[in-house]
Every structure is written in structure tokens, then in C-alpha cells.
Amino acid sequence: MSDLSTRLSSRTAPYRAVLASRMRSQRSHRASFRVDLLSSVLVGVVELAEVTVLYLQVDRIGGLDLAAVLLVFAISDTGFSLADMVAGHCDTIPTYIRAGTLDVFYLRPQPLLLQLMTSDLQLRRLARASVGVAVLVVALVVNDLTWDAATIGLLALSLVCAPLTFAALFVWAAGAQFFLVDGAETTNAFVYGGRYAATQPATVWSRPLLVVFGFVFPMAFTAFLPVVTLLDLDGASRLGLPDWIGWTAPLAVVWAWALAALSWRLGVRHYQGGGG
């Protein structure tokens, strides 16, 4: 057992060293760090406003009321912020490719994806997640929840699955960047469009949107479907899905990561090097 833990600690040592250096470097520029923190929180607040303003106008949209949509927003936004912190900067690959610096990553004895993830881990993104967590607390109070094992289990499950699904989306996008060096906005359409979609009730979507953001990129599984199962709303049945569908969020994680792994593999294999 102690053998295993020493092995584990020696294997993770390089990552810990890199991460600690990132933390220190960000704390050293205090003024810009504060502006960054402030803007990160503001992003969250504006996104919350976009969603809630509409629900203040009418009682229900797509079967959700304001309280329910707060819960959907909280889970998807927390999930997206955490994933963004860990994997969001992976889509800077085109910058590395253009500058020819991606080749440097290949020379180091660490997996490429892990190096990319630890290359720009930013503390300010935690501030972004704090908006989601704050809304989550409010949402858990204002919704009429019976606190039993099923409620806690489903909440915990969705809070684990949402960041994993979004992280897979970032990795998928990073893999696609190898092909679309100049077309980053194409993947952004699905990454940021996916974030936007995840805060909406899937019941308002047209068929094609349901295919793209319900199943290909399983955004409906991050928050909407777990919430309608949790609150016992008719959202799932409106889509022709069973009411327990919220419990299948882990399947969405598996599917999303399969897609991400494929995209990343193809991308890395496609990359020919910057020459030099």
C-alpha cells in the first residue's frame, strides 16, 4: 500500500510542480488578477441574467418555471466552469501550431493532452464556478425538494457528470483544431453553443437541435434531464423519453468521451509538425 502511494506520488510529482508554479505566477500580478476575477464573476452574472430575464416575463417555458431553470443553470454552469478551468484552454492549439511551439510539447516525456491541460490552468476560473455554486444553493432552497437518498444521489451524479461531459467537449474541440487551424469558430459553435444549449429546456428544441445537442453532443444530459427527473416534471415524456432518463447521465459521459478520444487521436495523428 505504501509502495503504491510512493509510486503514485513520484509519478504525479512533475504535474504538482507545474501546477504549483502556475498558481504562484498568477498570484504575482495582483491588479490584473483582480480584474480577471471581477470579469469572471460578471460573465457568470450576465449569463444568469440572459436565462432568468426571459423566465421573469412568463410563468413557464418548455415545462420549466423560474425555480427549475435556476437549478438547470446552476448544474450546467458549475459543470461548464469546472471543465473550462481544467480543459478550456486546450483549444489554444492553433496558436501553438502557428507559432511552431507545439513540437516542444512532443519532446517532453508527458502525455500531450495532460501537458496542454496543465499549461494554462487559471485560478480566476474558480471565481466563474462560484457563480454557479451560489445559484445552486439558491435553487436548492427555492425548489420543493424531498431530501431522500434518491435526490442526493441524482444531484451528486449530475454534478459529477456535467463537468466530465463538458470536459469531453473541450477535448473533442481540441482534436478538431488540428484539422481546422483557422476555423476555431466552428468548434466554438458547439462548445459555447453547447454551454448555451445546456441551460435551456431541451423541450423547446426543434428535431435537428435535439439530435445535435441532445444526443450527438449530449448537452441535455448535463442538467435538463437530471433536473426534470429530480423535480418529477414532464420534460422527459414531452421528448418521448422515460421519466428516469436523468439517471443515465453517466452514459452521456461515456459517449462524449468516446467522441473526444476519437477526435483527439485523429487530430494528433494528423499533425505533421511545424517543421524546424
Partner: protein, 268 residues
């Protein structure tokens, strides 16, 4: 006077041409604009239906027009605050711009407007076409909406350029304006009416929003072209836009002059 006009025209054409080399980027922009367009249509249609067919003066047709016109303009108005000029001020390269016999603000705005006008070809028109074909966008009742709308779009593009110019000139004092630019990006989209028509906002927030130049960059031309306002209302929108143009140009001139005195060239 005629010479300066010709220089600015050339810069405008150069901005237009430069943009035409990024074809894949333009296609990416089109995919992003239409994807968000469909998502916005879904939620706003549902909201209007939930309100009984009309919400703050918007019916289904008006919402569709708002979504697709604003998505089509998105590639042409600068709502992210990013400019080459900010970088040139940071590094001190802007000193070279001051040596040229062309007004720095005028040159920047002409190039920006050229770039923005080009964006209508690969991004704006196809986005609108997809919206018209797939979702359906009603035409405005009043034919005057077209010429007035065209003027309004041009004003929107120019106001967005003169406003991001102000943002960049903050660099004369702050040097690093990246944080400011991120703040700008967050506020401008929301205030310009990118996510929701600003008429949906609570009264107090609407009052704050209308005291900024942001609605002039997107909401007002969308209102005119969708036929939500016509006649006197449309004319008033255009006048407000023109007012913001004059104000931002004047502020830009003043900031450029005082910034030039502050300018410390890094190295060399």
C-alpha cells in the same frame, strides 16, 4: 480634404481585401452564427408562445426577424473589443502610426469598417438566408425600412469601431488593456441586445442600457429592419446612432491627443 477622403477610401478597401483571405475562418463564423441563431429561435419562440403569442410587442415573426438580423450583423460589429491597435499601443508601435500623415483614429475606423463590410458576404448574408429559408423571416411592411435600415447598419458598424477605438486608447494610460477588453466583451453583447431584445429587460436595467452606445450597435438596426419600429421611431433610432457616432468620434480625438502626450515608446 479630397485627398484625406481618398486615403480613407483606400484603407477601407484594404480592410475589405484583407478579410477576404480568411475563408475557413469565415465559414466557422457562419456555422457559429447559425447554430446560435437556431438555439435563440428555439427559446424565444417558446417564450412568445408561453406568453400567448406576443411578448413586449414581439410576435413569432418579429422574434425571428430579430434573431436572424442580429446574428447576421454579428460578424460585422465588433462586440469583443479586440483590436490590433491595443497591441500596437502596448508595444509602442503606435508611435509609427503617429508619424504617418493620416489621422490615427480615421485610419483605424476606415480599416475596421472595411473589414466589417466584407464580413457581410461570407457571414451576414448566408446567415440571414438560412434564417429566411429554414425558419422564415417576415419583411418589414414599410419600404422606407430598407434604406433607413441600411443607413442604420452602417452607423452601427461605425459606432462599434469608434467605441472599440476608445477602448484601445485606454492603453495610453493603462498599457495592458486585456482585462478591460474582457469586461467590454461581457457587457457589450448583453447591452447591445445580442441575447435578448433589450425591451425584455426590467425597466431599471433598460434605463442603464439605453444610456450607453451599445444598443446603437445592434438593437436599433434590428428594430428598423424587422419593422418593429417605423416612421418617426425608426428615424429617432438613426438620430440616436448618429449622436453616439459624433460623441465617440469627439471623445476619440480628445483621447488620442492627450494619449499622444502620455505615450512612452517602449525601448528603441
Amino acid at each position: 480634404m479630397r485627398d484625406t477622403g481618398r486615403v480613407h477610401w483606400r484603407l477601407l478597401v484594404a480592410g475589405f481585401r484583407r478579410q477576404s483571405t480568411y475563408r475557413l475562418a469565415a465559414l466557422g463564423g457562419l456555422v457559429a452564427n447559425t447554430t446560435f441563431g437556431f438555439l435563440k429561435v428555439a427559446i424565444l419562440f417558446a417564450a412568445v408562445r408561453a406568453a400567448g403569442g406576443e411578448l413586449e410587442g414581439y410576435d413569432i415573426g418579429a422574434v425571428s426577424a430579430y434573431v436572424w438580423i442580429s446574428q447576421a450583423m454579428l460578424g460585422s460589429v465588433n462586440l469583443n473589443g479586440r483590436t490590433d491597435l491595443a497591441e500596437r499601443i502596448r508595444t509602442g508601435d503606435v508611435a509609427v502610426d503617429f508619424l504617418r500623415p493620416v489621422d490615427v483614429q480615421g485610419a483605424f475606423v476606415a480599416t475596421e469598417v472595411g473589414r466589417s463590410l466584407f464580413a457581410f458576404l461570407p457571414r451576414g448574408l448566408p446567415t440571414l438566408t438560412i434564417g429566411v429559408l429554414v425558419v422564415g423571416v417576415p419583411a418589414p411592411d414599410d419600404v422606407a425600412a430598407y434604406p433607413l435600415g441600411a443607413v442604420s447598419v452602417l452607423l452601427a458598424i461605425t459606432v462599434s469601431a469608434t467605441t472599440v477605438y476608445l477602448l484601445a486608447t485606454a492603453g495610453f494610460w493603462l498599457v495592458e488593456t486585456r482585462g478591460l477588453q474582457v469586461l467590454y466583451m461581457i457587457v457589450s453583447g448583453f447591452f447591445a441586445g445580442l441575447f435578448l431584445p433589450i425591451w425584455f429587460l426590467p425597466t431599471w436595467l433598460y434605463a442603464v442600457v439605453s444610456a450607453t452606445p451599445f444598443p446603437s450597435m445592434l438593437m436599433y438596426p434590428a428594430d428598423i429592419l424587422s419593422g418593429r419600429v417605423d416612421g418617426g421611431g425608426a428615424l429617432l433610432h438613426v438620430l440616436v446612432q448618429a449622436g453616439w457616432l459624433v460623441a465617440t468620434v469627439a471623445a476619440g480625438q480628445w483621447l488620442t491627443r492627450s494619449g499622444r502626450r502620455r505615450l512612452e515608446v517602449q525601448g528603441g
